[in-house]
């Protein structure tokens, strides 16, 4: 028994599709692309053709049964494929619509057309061919037997010419001619179904591979979106999470917050800021973006439902300056409306922005807006995919989300981002004593110490400031209450200082007093000493004078000094 040989595949270059099909379309074989009107069949087919030219210089033929080739080329010009120059030299478009003025008379077949296509193929050296809207051609045949016969003819022709072919066919529910499509499914090697559906007022595109001969493929419907580069298939989420964990810390915007986060955010981490409208989520995010720009890092600021201009102005009023960074090109801003766009389309747009701009830091404000249009489940999937994607690329990201309720139990966002985010900062209002003050709490911050205290967030002309908190009776004091508390503290300090000064002065006075008293006593002592000396000398003087007087007296009484002397000596 022969082991079934895997079909060689050829990459389509359609983002995501090659993963889904594990390598692309079967090379040299035929793929049937079916779907309802507007499901993107023509775009997908044409994109494969353009990519084949671009990636491998393979040329192709495009046979249009339904739309005029001019219209197809014009539609494709809205994508960034640069189709214009390719049209003449690398691709050949055959307008194969039968004019309504053409008169039908009896049976016809495609042998002539296939002969022409073969000639064109040889002339161009084409390897690819697209039959776009084969259903239109088949209905012209007006006979199921003839349809079958011509499908066989095409199949044989494709097999002979060994071209990689895409046949697109419009399917509509409830249409009875499904028999032929079943038959076509049988004759082709790969069947891709495109589906467009309205979900909550939004058109959602999905792709599904329903058959791939001899090949493994991802079954199941996968969201598809159409961006500037054409169709993009959402990649399946990798089962294994592979993020490098950085230990590098970067500023979350300002020092106080960094301190609360134990030194800043980890590079490549994601931070969620939740809170009611007006709690300064954008300001915090803006501060983060500005800090990133100041470090010279490319930063992407995505805002939903608010234009870039008002954001720049509003942030400017609290001292966050975006303009110089916008001018230098470090900062790129992108604003989008969310009402009319599905979450998947946002994902595609953001992916292409990230790819083109390669930011190191990014803000999405508010991420919760992507859940506004379309299904919540889809938005949830997109939100987590977005965050994982940014993590994979090492982008440090700030996302904000609006909370409906402000009670801590309801602090989980609808998008369930809080479980994925590394850091979760919640902003709330604290209303006390007739004041509404902003409070900042760090609910979680993975892998780092963080303050578990609530801080008051004050917006000043020089940016947000986190004020110290005062706790009184287990409550955080804010606003006027904090100010009063602060004032009280200030008063107490002054009082203490005054008391100290007073005491010091008192002591100084008493010291001086003592000194004065000592001085006085010293003076007394001195005086007493002097007195004593004086007294002694007086006494001596008196003694001396009395002896002198006596002598004088004796001398005066005794006129013979010699006798007096001799008697004195001899006595």
């Amino acid at each position: 028994m022969a082991i079934p040989q895997a079909l060689p595949k050829i990459a389509t270059g359609v983002l995501g599709f090659d993963d889904l099909s594990r390598g692309g379309l079967p090379r040299g074989r035929t793929t049937l692309l079916k779907g309802g009107p507007g499901s993107g069949k023509t775009v997908f087919a044409l994109q494969c053709l353009v990519n084949a030219v671009r990636m491998r210089r393979e040329r192709g033929l495009f046979v249009a049964f339904e739309e005029s080739t001019r219209q197809i080329v014009a539609n494709a010009a809205t994508f960034d494929w640069g189709l214009g120059p390719l049209v003449k030299r690398k691709l050949f478009f055959l307008d194969a619509r039968l004019s309504p003025e053409v008169v039908h008379s009896g049976e016809f077949d495609l042998s002539g057309m296939l002969a022409m296509l073969k000639a064109k193929k040889q002339e161009l050296g084409a390897r690819w061919i697209v039959f776009d809207g084969i259903d239109v051609l088949l209905t012209l045949l007006r006979d199921p037997a003839a349809e079958m016969r011509e499908i066989y003819r095409i199949r044989d022709w494709l097999a002979d010419n060994e071209m990689t072919a895409i046949i697109t066919a419009k399917t509509e529910r409830g249409l009875s001619d499904a028999v032929n499509y079943d038959f076509m499914q049988f004759m082709v090697d790969c069947v891709v179904r495109l589906n467009r559906q309205l979900e909550q007022g939004l058109s959602m595109h999905r792709v599904q591979i329903t058959k791939y001969r001899g090949s493994d493929f991802l079954a199941g419907e996968v969201p598809v979106s159409f961006g500037a580069s054409g169709m993009e298939v959402a990649p399946p989420e990798p089962a294994e999470i592979l993020h490098r964990a950085s230990t590098e810390r970067i500023s979350a915007g300002f020092e106080r917050l960094d301190k609360m986060l134990g030194g800043g955010l980890f590079r490549g981490s994601s931070t969620l800021i939740t809170g009611l409208p007006g709690t300064s989520k954008t300001t915090l995010a803006g501060k983060f973006a500005e800090a990133a720009c100041r470090r010279g890092e490319r930063t992407l600021f995505v805002s939903f439902d608010e234009g870039s201009e008002p954001i720049v102005r509003n942030l400017g009023s609290v001292g966050i300056q975006f303009r110089p960074h916008l001018k230098s090109g470090l900062l790129r801003m992108y604003s989008a409306r969310t009402e009319s766009t599905s979450a998947d389309d946002h994902l595609v747009k953001l992916k292409s922005l990230i790819r083109d701009y390669a930011p190191r830091c990014m803000v999405i404000d508010p991420l919760s807006a992507i859940g506004k249009a379309g299904g919540l489940a889809a938005a949830r999937a997109v939100a987590s995919r977005l965050i994982y994607m940014m993590k994979d690329q090492g982008i440090t990201v700030f996302v904000t989300a609006i909370n409906e309720g402000d009670d801590p139990a309801a602090e989980a966002t609808d998008l369930e981002v809080s479980t994925i985010a590394d850091t979760w900062i919640h902003l709330s209002y604290v209303i006390r004593s007739g004041e509404r003050n902003r409070a900042l709490t760090i609910i979680k911050s993975r892998g780092t110490w963080h303050s578990n205290q609530v801080r008051e967030l004050i917006l000043g002309a020089t940016g947000p400031v986190l004020a110290d908190v005062y706790t009184a009776g287990g409550e955080v004091l804010m606003g006027t209450l904090r100010w009063e508390k602060e004032d009280e503290e200030r008063g107490k300090t002054l009082q203490r200082r005054a008391a100290f000064d007073h005491k010091r002065r008192e002591l100084q006075v008493s010291e001086a007093d003592t000194r004065a008293r000592i001085k006085a006593m010293e003076n007394d002592l001195e005086r007493q000493r002097t007195e004593l000396t004086l007294f002694s000398s007086e006494h001596d003087a008196r003694l001396l004078s009395s002896s002198e007087r006596e002598k004088e007296l004796r001398r005066k009484r005794d006129a013979d000094p010699a006798k007096r002397n001799g008697s004195k000596n001899g006595a």
């Binding site: 055959l94 194969a96 039968l98 004019s99 003025e101 053409v102 008169v103 039908h104 008379s105 009896g106 049976e107 016809f108 077949d109 495609l110 042998s111 002539g112 057309m113 002969a115 022409m116 073969k118 000639a119 064109k120 002339e123």
Partner: protein, 88 residues
């Protein structure tokens, strides 16, 4: 004078039938007042492509105006006569 061009795919059954049907019409209605060129698309595909031919067999009436295009093996004679401007 009716000027026509018939595009065929050599001996494909519909093409063979178209040649026969057209010959019959010419013989019966035009009595030599016609000019017919038969192009084998398999032999000169790029010529057919240039002429805007898509399927075979195809008949183009080039003059007198208005020009007309008929696809099929020409078995529906009434519609062919009408397209060629021949009163049956």
């Amino acid at each position: 004078m009716v000027v026509m061009c018939l595009y065929v795919a050599r001996d494909a059954p519909n093409s063979v039938r178209a040649v026969a049907n057209l010959a019959e019409i010419c013989k019966q209605y035009l009595h030599g007042r016609f000019k017919l060129e038969i192009v084998d698309v398999l032999k000169s595909p790029l010529r057919a492509l240039k002429d805007g031919v898509l399927v075979t067999p195809s008949l183009a009436k080039l003059s007198p105006a208005p020009v007309a295009k008929i696809v099929g093996n020409l078995s529906d004679r009434a519609s062919v006569l009408q397209a060629l401007g021949i009163k049956g």
